[in-house]
């Protein structure tokens, strides 16, 4: 597998980086959608994230990466294992699973293991990508080009956290809790609102407009192309630093307080914007909390809410489909109104 571009070497794109980190700190923030112009390094950032995530504990023989400490999320096999005495555990990297375009349904949800069926006559389930992505990230590049029947499937699984397979005489259910990360170019088509809703945060990426920024992007990319190993080595320290911060932030997260006035102001913000339901508020508060703990703060402040307001809310506004670009502006205005310019 080719060396991924180091996360810390990505120039600017602060909003995208922050959103991805927030999702890495607190998975309950939900997925991240990155929309942007061509060539802004959307997929680079997501692939870079994979190299950055601290490893996790999993049940050794489990094909779904079950968490040994959380018995209520176990798959049936793990329950059985636990009943038969103890689970063996191991450290594993957090999966960042690519859902490539053109993937077929059987590989996504899992299907009958054809090889064992043909050679041994055994009816066995061969887990698919959703199983592989459990407790990790599922990355879909060009998410707006994804085929409709796969979108339907994802929407369902992402909502329930469980994959239900009923095909070829198999009846399997297994946990599939993952953070969906999608990227795409809005000019190639829009996303179904139902799928849009599954993303906790949505960020918009633009090409850096200043010359110095552009030169820096090109210089680093060029250096990377020439000798990716040496480049990765050079940024290893910085990447490790971010990794440590993620670990620290996860530890801190349960203790981060959300003061009442923040809750109130967030509610006011969402009311001003007229977002449907409570999902927007919930996501914003979680994201702000993840953001605070990443910054090492014990308490969520206005600044944390402000930095996550646009990503958490811009795709939840009651939409005038013609006014896509203006939603960021609307959020900005509402934020200024609630928190003062």
């Amino acid at each position: 597998m080719p060396t991924p571009f180091p996360f810390s070497a990505i120039v600017a794109q602060e909003e995208m980086k922050l959103a991805l980190l927030a999702a890495a700190v607190d998975r309950t923030v939900g997925g991240v959608l990155v929309f942007g112009d061509r060539g802004t390094g959307k997929s680079t950032a997501v692939r870079a994230l994979a190299g950055l995530l601290p490893p996790m504990q999993v049940v050794a023989a489990c094909s779904y990466n079950c968490d040994p400490d959380e018995s209520d999320t176990w798959c049936e096999a793990c329950r059985a294992r636990s009943a038969n005495g103890g689970l063996k555990t191991r450290r594993a990297p957090v999966p960042v699973v690519d859902l490539p375009l053109g993937a077929t349904e059987d590989r996504v949800v899992g299907a009958l293991d054809l090889e064992r069926a043909l050679t041994q006559g055994i009816k066995a389930f061969e887990p698919g990508l959703l199983a592989k992505a459990n407790r990790g990230f599922l990355y879909i590049d060009e998410v707006n080009l994804l085929e409709d029947h796969l979108v339907d499937l994802l929407i369902d699984v992402a909502a329930s956290g469980e994959n239900l397979v009923e095909r070829e005489g198999l009846s399997v259910r297994h946990p599939a809790r993952f953070v969906i990360v999608g990227s795409g170019n809005p000019e190639e088509g829009e996303l179904r609102p139902q799928l849009l809703d599954r993303f906790g945060l949505s960020v918009e990426e633009r090409t850096p407009a200043d010359l110095a920024g552009r030169v820096e992007v090109v210089r680093r990319r060029d250096e990377f192309e020439r000798d990716s190993a040496a480049f990765a080595e050079k940024w290893k320290q910085k990447d490790a630093q971010i990794r440590r911060r993620i670990v620290a932030a996860r530890g801190l997260l349960p203790d981060v307080k959300v003061p009442d006035e923040i809750l109130e102001s967030v509610a006011r913000l969402c009311m001003t914007l007229g977002t449907d339901g409570l999902r927007g508020e919930l996501t914003l508060i979680r994201a702000a909390r993840a953001c605070a703990s990443y910054a090492g703060a014990k308490q969520v402040s206005d600044a944390h809410v402000r930095s996550m307001a646009a990503p958490a809310l811009r795709h939840r506004l009651r939409r005038n489909p013609l006014d896509e670009t203006a939603s960021t502006l609307r959020v900005q205005r509402a934020v200024d109104e609630v928190y003062g310019a």
């Binding site: 390094g41 085929e147 070829e168 090109v218």
Partner: protein
């Protein structure tokens, strides 16, 4: 002269590829032959047809081997086979966007990740792409996602001159340059000047910049320079940046003018050279780019193409009906492979596999039973479902002339916006053609992006003569192009039908009217569903006759408001309000 071909041969991986926009012919063949001769001999060069199936492109189940061995055997796809080589895409402008997206993703990741047919494979695919684009019209182009990932764009005229220069470099020069490539340094100053040149040309994509740097490096390697020089930057600007230019860079003496067009697209992009001394470097790079710009760049999008006749027989209307085996795969269902439905071998085997032992025992002779790998019965048959997207595409042909008073135009715009909201729900395509003065203009090529639709509409100007014929003709050309791509076009003509400019751009009511009638007949002959909305204050017989010639539904709307216009369109395309 250093050609794109030579640079690409040096670094196919770093430069992505070449898009060649030219009809097939000797020059194009020569280009391909010279590329072949410059690439190292063992380099695979694989041709890929536009309608390549996903299985073949990405890989999947190797049927013959699977049946022979009794266990699933994976087959590599074209992309994996072309590793360390070059793929040549025939008729790239006809390629499905998803197919192009697969190739784009292979270019990005330099590997193909396959999750298909029960296989999870990862194989390296370090390849370069030559996209042969035979498109004629402006909107007939390879997918933008793919184009963005190819460093070079050349057209027929470049091919001609390249043919003359083909012998400038030998395969040995190229091989030597390949050796040197990784040690060539591209200085920060040079990168800066390439970036600012790109800024001046209105190029936003960072990929273009990265390609420019790679091209400069390849050019330096070819010239045996250890560090890329201004000359190399000039080559890069000319070959990579100039063909992507959106604005003509201001000539040095008139620095201030001409920036209007880029200003619209990037309101936040200030003059990139602000606060920085324009070095000589930048001038050379920019001059090289400017020299290579095609003449009349700014007019290009304004061109109308009156009189371009395509015979209806060139269309392929038949394809639309064969949905059973055409379109995007959309899952699998149980069923017989009859009436053109395609058997899905894998799903069929999967269905049969659980019963292997059971059925083997039931067979007459035990000897035969042991030889049976899997026995497939009729009830196991699964066929692939295809979904042919036949999106309705609505083409609005707007009369923006002076006679259509300005408030009419506003109403029409309003109607289009309302319909766009509808189109959003149904994921339809929309296109906008406006006609005024001497000709028609495709304001908005067919798109699903409402952001763009809105942007284009908001600054549609009005005034001038009424070149009705040119407008209808442009709408028809667009409609036929859409139909060929499998969409079902509806043309909505909003006009008062008072033509006063003929097809050739000259004034005169008589000629203008008879031209309009004759192009209208062509629309009817092509069986394009259409609707004429009479926007004149007093609905007249002229518009009604024209509607008759078009085979269009006639809707007189003397005092149309946007909502009722939108309603009329909905009704006419049979969707109900």
């Amino acid at each position: 002269m250093i050609t794109a071909t030579a640079l690409f041969a040096i670094d196919p991986l770093g430069l992505g590829g070449i898009a060649v926009r030219s009809p097939p012919g000797i020059e194009r063949d020569q280009f391909l032959a010279s590329l072949r001769s410059l690439l190292p001999q063992q380099t695979p060069m694989q041709r890929v047809p536009a309608h390549v199936s996903d299985e073949r492109l990405l890989g999947g189940l190797d049927l013959a081997a699977t049946l022979k061995s009794g266990q699933p055997v994976a087959a590599r796809g074209l992309l994996a086979e072309a590793d360390r080589g070059v793929i040549v895409l025939s008729m790239a402008e006809r390629m499905q966007p998803t197919t192009a997206a697969f190739i784009a993703s292979a270019l990005d990741c330099r590997e193909v990740v396959v999750e298909r047919d029960g296989f999870a494979m990862r194989s390296p695919a370090r390849l370069g792409v030559v996209a042969l684009d035979e498109g004629l019209a402006d909107d007939e182009q390879p997918s933008a996602a793919l184009l963005d990932r190819l460093a070079f764009r050349i057209d027929a005229s470049v091919l001609r001159s390249a043919a003359e220069n083909a012998t400038n470099y030998s395969a040995r020069d190229i091989a030597a340059a390949r050796e040197r490539l990784s040690s060539v340094v591209v200085g920060t100053a040079l990168i800066e000047s390439l970036c600012s040149a790109a800024g001046a040309l209105g190029i936003d994509s960072l990929r273009a910049l990265i390609f420019a740097v790679q091209a400069a490096r390849a050019s330096a390697a070819l010239a045996s320079r250890e560090e890329a020089s201004e000359l190399d930057a000039a080559v890069a600007a000319q070959l990579v940046l100039a063909p992507r230019a959106l604005v003509v860079p201001p000539a040095p003496e008139q620095q201030q003018t001409q920036n209007t067009e880029s200003g619209q697209d990037r309101p936040d992009a200030k003059d990139p050279e602000q606060g920085r001394n324009v070095s000589e470097h930048d001038d050379i790079v920019l001059a090289a780019a400017r020299a290579a710009l095609p003449a009349g760049l700014l007019d290009r999008s304004n061109e109308s193409q009156p009189g371009r006749v395509k015979s209806a027989a060139a269309g392929r209307f038949g394809v639309q009906r064969r949905c059973v085996q055409f379109g995007r795969p959309a899952g699998v269902r149980r069923g017989k492979p009859a009436k053109g439905a395609r058997l899905n071998i894998l799903a069929t085997l999967r269905a049969a596999a659980p019963f292997r032992r059971l059925r083997a025992n039931a067979t007459d002779s035990p000897a035969a039973a042991s030889r049976v790998v899997v026995s497939v019965r009729r009830e196991d048959f699964h066929v692939t479902r295809y979904k042919h997207r036949s999106p309705t595409a609505t083409i609005f042909v707007l009369d923006a002339s002076g006679s259509s008073a300005l408030h009419r135009l506003a109403e029409a715009k309003g109607a289009v916006e309302l319909l766009l909201a509808d189109c959003y729900v149904r994921r339809d395509q929309v296109a906008v053609v406006a006609f005024r003065n001497k000709g028609a203009e495709v304001l908005l090529a067919p798109t699903r992006s409402l952001v763009r639709a809105r942007r284009e509409l908001s600054d549609l100007p009005g005034g001038g003569g009424t070149p009705l014929a040119a407008g209808i003709e442009a709408g028809r050309v667009l409609a036929e192009a859409l139909a060929r791509r499998g969409a079902t076009p509806t043309m909505v003509l909003l006009t008062d039908a008072r033509a006063n400019v003929a097809l050739d751009g000259r004034g005169g009511r008589e000629q203008a009217h008879s031209d309009a009638v004759s192009v209208a007949r062509r629309v009817r002959a092509a069986a394009i569903r259409s609707l004429l909305i009479d926007t004149s204050p007093r609905p007249g017989a002229t518009a009604q006759t024209l509607a008759g010639e078009l085979g269009a539904r006639y809707v007189p709307l003397p005092h149309a408001d946007a909502a009722s216009l939108a309603n009329a369109v909905r009704l006419s395309s049979g969707r109900g309000p």
